[in-house]
């Protein structure tokens, strides 16, 4: 909140055309301005990302040094979580809780709100030349419902018994039979978050469909808007089934129904007092029907940001804009029919597995087209290697690694071995951590001057980039090896029990070598170093708000899209005059034009007409 206050002081004075003076609360807290809401989303979700990362840093201690007291935060944990962390040692229950909440917070409270809601809110209306979102008050409601969902999730940490501990996937029956109430909080929090996404998605889609400026035809939309458009549909249509599933899990837990609880379920050696007849597979289907499109919700906005930043810094048109647009539409559609590739091991049958293998392999085609388009666009460009461009170039490679390592997981035969190992962890973290999060960093460096009128330090940005890149790879690269060696993902002792060094395992086949176990420590070190690597970024953001180099103009990156043609920072209502769009989004270095970039609202120069 602090941040948004500062940001908008600068703008408050020069927006003369806007007469009604709003009070502090309406302007910065309960604002209906898409830019303020975007910044609110941004700050909240960045804090949640930091929190989710901190949970993992604590878990990494337990993995590296199982059973020894956690330094620095051990005492604090004991104070908050009580017997779950007695003596500052992480108990297995606490490990499960942190694991479940790490996933939940990173996905639903961190990346989705940052990628979709924060960037989407700030940038999309500006890029399409709209004065605001189509439904500003619903937009505000969306943020506050998200905020409430976050509060519920945080409160679950301090209730007796602690938060949910059945993994971020919350598979029933496990999730329903754990006697503590953490799961109820999780489910209620999820209902808030889903409602928030629903409100946001309706708003984004209506805005893009209805509020495009005159001349802004569909094929003149910047690719970022297309990506958000498809993401909006994914959220709109994929989230409701999880809402239904959350409702049913709530009833299983709270009212004693048996939606996901089978007949004959034994809990702690006793027959559970339930009617039975439910289906555990039903939860998995409903969950993954959301959670696979969710993967694309995490990735598409990132691709959008990357396309914007890359074209801006190669100073030439994007190669294959149409291919990009059709690929993203195809990707959106296909993402709805691949969900059961997460369930090869459930015994749902070979025919169904075959179907989902086929669609899973097909969906790699549009993904590859998107990456290829971005790679080819680099060819022959005069590339500016500023911080945001470095992050985007790294995205291409890191995302490529994440995508290619996903192929073996798409085949059920290979997946039998790799399922639930660290290989899977490494695979999807390559997509989301050095993938999506790098793109989000790029977005922050890129749009920061528009939000504040000042530049972030490029030097410290590069320090942030190179250290993050190195440590990200040191974290996730060894995990491929661990996974292929057979190390399972949810072992709270870092698989020490399966180590070849353990006396009980002498002469047993298939135990884990010492190198594999030892890499737990190097990974943990790298994770903590990654945390240190974020300090330059955090300082850079806060320092640059007040002390950064002045942007000098509304368009410091010489960009073509409309957000850079608005005043800086844009006042409430964005454009002084409604912009008229004359051209496509990426007209860089057009021969005969006065400059190497031709903004979308620039009319055709007179000389060429004559």
């Amino acid at each position: 909140m602090e941040h948004s206050t500062h940001t908008h002081h600068a703008g408050a004075h020069d927006d003369h055309h806007h007469h009604e003076e709003l009070g502090f609360w309406q302007k910065y807290i309960f604002s209906t301005d898409h830019k303020v809401i975007g910044i609110q989303y941004g700050i909240t979700s960045l804090l949640f990302l930091l929190f989710g990362f901190s949970l993992m840093m604590v878990m990494r201690w337990q993995l590296a040094y199982p059973g020894s007291p956690i330094p620095l935060v051990g005492g604090l944990l004991e104070k908050i979580m009580g017997p779950l962390a007695s003596g500052g040692v992480m108990s297995s229950d606490l490990y499960n809780m942190f694991g479940a909440m790490h996933g939940t917070i990173m996905v639903f409270l961190g990346i989705v709100p940052l990628a979709f809601a924060a960037f989407g809110n700030y940038v999309v209306p500006l890029q399409i030349g709209a004065p605001d979102m189509a439904f500003p008050r619903i937009n505000m409601a969306s943020y506050w419902v998200y905020f409430l969902g976050g509060v519920v999730m945080l409160v679950s940490f301090i209730i007796p018994g602690g938060p949910a501990q059945a993994g971020w996937t919350s598979y029933s029956p496990l999730a329903s039979i754990i006697p503590t109430n953490g799961q109820l909080y999780w489910v209620i929090g999820m209902v808030f978050l889903i409602t928030s996404s629903l409100l946001g998605a309706v708003n984004f889609l209506a805005t893009i469909i209805q509020l495009r400026a005159p001349g802004m035809t569909w094929m003149r939309l910047p690719f970022f808007v297309w990506a958000q458009f498809v993401t909006g549909f994914l959220l709109l249509l994929a989230f409701p089934p999880l809402e239904a599933a959350a409702l049913m899990q709530f009833m299983d837990k709270g009212l004693g129904t048996s939606f996901f609880l089978p007949t004959g379920l034994m809990v702690s050696g006793k027959m559970a007092a339930i009617s039975g007849g439910g289906s555990p597979l039903l939860w998995q289907h409903l969950f993954w029907f959301l959670a696979h499109p969710e993967v694309y919700v995490l990735v598409l906005p990132a691709m959008g940001i990357v396309a914007e930043v890359i074209t801006n810094n190669i100073r030439k048109p994007l190669w294959g804009y149409k291919a990009l647009v059709y690929s993203v539409l195809t990707l959106g559609f296909l993402s709805f029919i691949v969900w059961a590739h997460h369930m090869y091991l459930t015994g749902m049958g070979t025919a169904i597995s075959t179907f989902f293998q086929t669609t899973t392999i097909i969906i790699s085609i549009p993904s590859v087209i998107i990456l290829t388009v971005l790679f080819i666009s680099l060819w022959g460009g005069s590339i500016r290697f500023n911080t945001q461009m470095l992050f985007c170039l790294a995205f291409l490679v890191m995302f490529g690694i994440g995508g290619l390592t996903g192929l073996p997981l798409g085949f059920s035969y290979a997946d039998l071995f790799l399922h639930d190992t660290y290989y899977v962890i490494a695979h999807f973290h390559y997509l989301v951590a050095p993938g999506t999060i790098f793109a989000l960093y790029a977005g922050i460096y890129y749009w920061f001057p528009k939000m504040t009128g000042r530049m972030m330090s490029d030097f410290w940005g590069k320090v942030h980039f190179w250290t993050s890149l190195i440590f990200m790879n040191l974290i996730f690269q060894p995990m491929f090896a661990q996974g292929m060696a057979g190390m399972l993902r949810r072992m709270y002792d870092g698989a020490v029990n399966y180590s070849a060094a353990t006396a009980a395992n002498a002469g047993v086949n298939g135990v884990l070598s010492e190198a594999i176990i030892y890499s737990n420590r190097t990974i943990s070190m790298a994770a903590w170093m990654l945390a240190l690597a974020q300090i330059p970024f955090i300082i850079n953001v806060f320092w640059s708000i007040k002390n950064g180099r002045k942007a000098g103009s509304d368009n410091p990156w010489d960009s073509t899209t409309l957000e850079w043609q608005a005043p800086t920072p844009p006042p409430h209502g964005n454009f002084a005059v409604v912009p008229v769009v004359y051209r496509g989004p990426y007209e860089y270095s057009v021969p005969g034009h006065p400059r190497d970039f031709s903004p979308q609202n620039m009319p055709e120069p007179v000389s060429r007409k004559a």
Binding site: P131, D132, Q210, G264, S275, G277, G278, L282
Partner: protein
């Protein structure tokens, strides 16, 4: 700052903003109910043969409710059409009927719910099952009005849990139960009440959502639908009474509001049109 197309349609899409919004919202509602309907199918297909209950619900009441909702759908359209013809007085009558229909629907629905919560299945320690409506309940005994075909021998397969604990069922309790049955004359016609001592009961459970997966999905689907009916009725009522000032200041926008709430109302009706056969008839 004015947001364009809040009232007038945009030329290329032919729609005003709220209409786009409501259609998108309804698309997500389709997915919400679609997921629950899919769950119904999966649970029903997955149920052990012969265990899926039939005929638990009151079909005549369901039919009346269907007609009530269809009627309300008609009056919503007539209300909107009246506004288009500048007849605010008629609009008011039609929308009042709509709201009353919604209320009637909810009353009938709650009556059906109460019936389910009063409907008990009591498994006695001797293995007999009494199934009927609760007349009186104290901490010592239940008085049940059994349904016609209610008293039956419990099937071992159906209630494996029911007997595990009662292996050494005390003689006394069994004797009392037997005595009770003689006293009430086996109530073949179901006309008489049965008194069952709590000490004889292995398990007593009403027909709430916890009773079986059919009732679970029944309560979830109809409960969620009833919430939609309630929400829709409240919105229509709000527009009708405190929101009616807008008719004077901005009639076009006001009419649009009726259209939007009407679209939602039709969707709610449509869900019921699917719910009725799926839950009551099939």
């Amino acid at each position: 700052m004015d947001i364009p197309y809040t009232t007038t349609p945009r030329e290329d899409t032919g729609l005003y903003n709220a209409k786009v919004g409501i259609w998108l919202f309804l698309a997500s509602e389709v997915m919400l109910f679609g997921a629950l309907f899919s769950s119904y199918i999966l649970l029903r297909v997955g149920a052990a043969p012969g265990t899926w209950p039939h005929g638990l619900l009151n079909v005549p009441l369901g039919t009346i409710n269907t007609l009530v909702l269809i009627c309300s759908s008609v009056t919503v359209v007539l209300g909107w059409a009246s506004l288009k013809m500048n007849r605010f007085d008629r609009y008011r009558i039609y929308q009042t009927i709509t709201v009353l229909c919604a209320l009637l629907f909810l009353c009938i629905k709650s009556f059906e719910y109460r019936d389910k919560f009063n409907h008990y299945e009591i498994i006695k320690k001797d293995g007999t099952v009494v199934d009927g409506h609760l007349i009186e309940k104290t901490k010592d005994y239940y008085i049940i009005h059994p349904l016609p075909k209610a008293t039956k021998k419990s099937m071992e397969s159906e209630h494996p849990a029911a007997h595990s604990g009662a292996a050494a069922a005390n003689e006394h309790a069994t004797a009392t139960a037997a005595g009770e049955h003689e006293a009430t004359g086996e109530h073949a016609g179901g006309a008489e009440h049965v008194k069952i001592m709590v000490s004889d009961i292995e398990r007593a459970q009403n027909y709430g959502p916890w009773h079986n997966t059919y009732l679970a999905i029944y309560f979830t689907l109809t409960g969620l639908h009833a919430l939609h009916v309630l929400g829709g009725a409240l919105v229509i009522l709000y527009i009708l009474v405190p929101g009616a000032k807008m008719w004077k200041t901005d009639p076009e926008r006001y009419t649009n509001r009726i259209e939007i709430s009407g679209l939602f109302w039709h969707f709610v009706d449509l869900v019921w049109i699917f719910l009725f056969p799926v839950l009551y008839l099939l």
